[in-house]
Amino acid sequence: MSGNVVQRVQRVQGVRGVRRFVRRPWRLAAEVSALVIAAVVAFPLYWMVLSAFKPAGEIESSEPRPWTLEPSLDSFRRVFGQQEFGRYFLNSLVVACSVVVVSALIAFLAATAVTRFRFRFRTTLLIMFLVAQMVPVEALTIPLFFQMRDFGLLNTLGSLILPHIAFSLPFAIWMLRGFVKAVPEALEEAAYIDGASRSRFLWQILFPLVFPGLVATSVFSFISAWNDFLFAKSFIISDTSQSTLPMALLVFYKPDDPDWGGVMAASTVMTIPVLVFFVLVQRRLVSGLGGAVKD
């Protein structure tokens, strides 16, 4: 950065108070529009939760109201009253968490390899990881079906976990590169001078430093595994005890007579854990994703 900038920075610090005053009307306008946009973006979510609480018949009313006078828990009762709903929830959690943990570990190793080493085929590999994300998942269902059958995994949660790990890996590696790169090399050298072994550096120094980045990338693996119904629909053929939440949601999608209340209640139940997860990691997510550009 040029000295010019430094001078400007000093000037800025001197007049900060004035500037704030001048800018106020603009900022007010920006804040109002931010709030309005937030409301618009949140409206579909609000409508989802609202529809879940509306009593039967009110959803399909020709006078849609953005409120309900008689909130009812009937839709939620239908959702929770489903066979083994708790089981589905648990299954979804098992699938999503296994995918998150395993793919984070594998991606961490791979990202370390492609950022902290120079070797032949490095660029080729990077492009391959990118290409891997382009594979249309839907089209792969058939070959994967046979593969899971040959592994004897059909009808088990394993048939959901394995493909999801594979599909979330390329993106995770691609995103994690920035975080691994952000760790100063001096740190690595210092560690070796102190006599740390390779694996000690990897797991006790690098890993904790990259952890915020892992959290940020995990969000993606978590959502894709949690929300998936394509694999669940195709691979869990007949064993309902291995079903996941999206399958429980699909039950309400009868094309002849869709149970909108049930769909919306089930969706609310499905969205809340992700939202909670999001809110918990929000700070990390932002600082984490920011880390990706700090060069």
Partner: protein, 438 residues
């Protein structure tokens, strides 16, 4: 940087690991061996898939009582029933054919799928058991035809379904309308209802409602396809068929059922609209009775056979319905066939009629229930007037699921193509499908 020998070996072993054990067949895509297991165990778990209907509870009750009796009679046999959603059935059943290990032993399936499932090698030939089954002789010929492919029997008919004309008695009375006696009168009546009551569809129709549209084609002398015994040729673009297509598609428009709303509708949507009191008339099945009864129009409607071209005639209806079949991969042949006979028995069918309104496939049982429940009369009359079936070709499943006919109707209705062009395209697609299996 050069790759050392060690790392080269590593790469090689990684690649080997990745591919090892996966390439069972070297250079052809995988298939499954779906031949029958040959085993016939007398104990163990029988898995059964039945369709999840609208308002399924009464069906579950009847089935549970049959299963309880079955389990009592067969010590050591356990029956697990799963109700699968109708809209994902094709995928589920295909998946079951592909993975015998997780496949059920007994399934319910739509009778239009029989030929396709047989060609897929999924269903067990039970001709021997069927002819030995005492009650089979009373099965009506149409129903029997729907489980038969090339003279062999692949299941037991579960119920039949035909469609007839539902109309609003209160609306007809208010507007002073007569029940239509010909197809021309039907169109005219529809327009008059819409003109007098713009909040209603005259006759609610759907662009994706193939089996509601086909009676118009058949009544005008058209056919889906001509031919027998495996080789078919599409006849949907014949002059007579086009006349029928024109008659049906002319019902889409602001003077009856606006295309913007109706082009995307399927059969169930039209019934939902009628039940909600949004239409003067609808083409619905005996199986729709429960849904209509549960709707707003309860007590304000009646049913008559759909009129044909000539006064007093009945437009040929599609003989729909479901069958039960045993899967080729079952290892409990005797048990599965026995349970199938119990579920498709006269007694169970009569109970299912009381519970769900499913029309029995046995002529005598059907007559008995018709005496008990007068609303069945127009449907029985429609059946008696002669029904039509889809081509008994494995290609039909494909034509049906690739939406050839709905696409045709929607193209005409939305003004993308005229009747001649759209029906010619549909005929081409159908012939390609017939050709690919012939």
């Amino acid at each position: 940087m050069k790759l050392s020998v060690r790392s080269a070996r590593l790469v090689a072993s990684v690649a080997a690991l990745a591919l090892a054990g996966l390439t069972a067949t070297a250079c052809a895509p995988e298939t499954s061996d779906n031949s029958s297991s040959g085993k016939d165990e007398q104990t163990g778990t029988l898995r059964v898939w039945l369709f999840q209907e609208v308002g399924n509870t009464p069906k579950e009750k009847v089935v549970t009582s049959v299963v309880d009796a079955f389990e009592k009679a067969h010590k050591g046999a356990e029956v697990k029933i799963e109700y699968i959603p109708v809209e994902t059935r094709a995928q589920r059943i295909k998946a079951a054919f592909n993975d015998p290990k997780s496949a059920p032993d007994l399934i319910e399936y739509g009778n239009t799928d029989t030929a396709g499932y047989v060609a897929d090698g999924g269903l067990l030939d039970i001709t021997k058991e069927f002819s030995a089954w005492g009650e089979a002789s009373d099965t009506d010929p149409t129903a029997r035809q729907s489980v038969t492919v090339d003279g062999k029997v692949y299941g037991a008919p579960f119920f039949v379904g035909v469609r007839a004309l539902y109309y609003r008695t209160d609306v007809f009375k208010e507007l002073g309308l007569e029940v239509p006696k010909t197809m021309a009168e039907l169109t005219d009546t529809a327009h008059r209802i819409r003109a007098a009551r713009p909040d209603l569809y005259g006759l609610v129709v759907g662009g994706a409602y193939t089996y509601g549209a086909m009676p118009f084609v058949w009544a005008n002398g058209g056919e889906l396809a001509t031919g027998r015994g495996g080789s078919y040729a599409s006849a949907i673009d014949s002059a007579a068929s086009r006349k029928g297509i024109k008659a049906y598609t002319s019902l889409f428009g602001d003077d009856n059922c606006p295309a913007a709303k109706c082009a995307g509708m399927g059969g169930n949507d039209t019934i939902t609209a009628f039940a909600a009191g949004k239409a003067g008339m609808a083409i619905g099945g005996d199986f729709s009775h429960t849904a209509v009864e549960a709707g707003k129009v309860k007590g304000e409607y009646a049913v008559v056979p759909l009129p044909g071209v000539e006064a007093g005639s009945v437009a040929p209806a599609f003989a729909g319905g479901n069958n039960l079949g045993v899967l080729n991969s079952t290892s409990h042949r005797t048990l599965a066939v026995d349970l199938m006979e119990q579920l498709a028995s006269k007694k169970t069918q009569a109970e299912l009629f009381d519970a769900m309104g499913f029309l029995p496939t046995f002529a005598d049982t059907r007559d008995a229930v018709a005496r008990k429940q007068p609303y069945v009369a127009p449907f029985v009359k429609t059946l008696a007037a002669g029904t039509k079936f889809v081509p008994a070709s494995p290609a039909w499943s494909q034509i049906d699921s690739s939406l050839v006919l709905p696409t045709m109707f929607q193209e005409i209705v939305s003004g993308k193509k005229d009747v001649a062009a759209a029906s010619a395209d549909a005929a081409k697609k159908m012939d390609a499908a017939f050709g690919s299996v012939g």
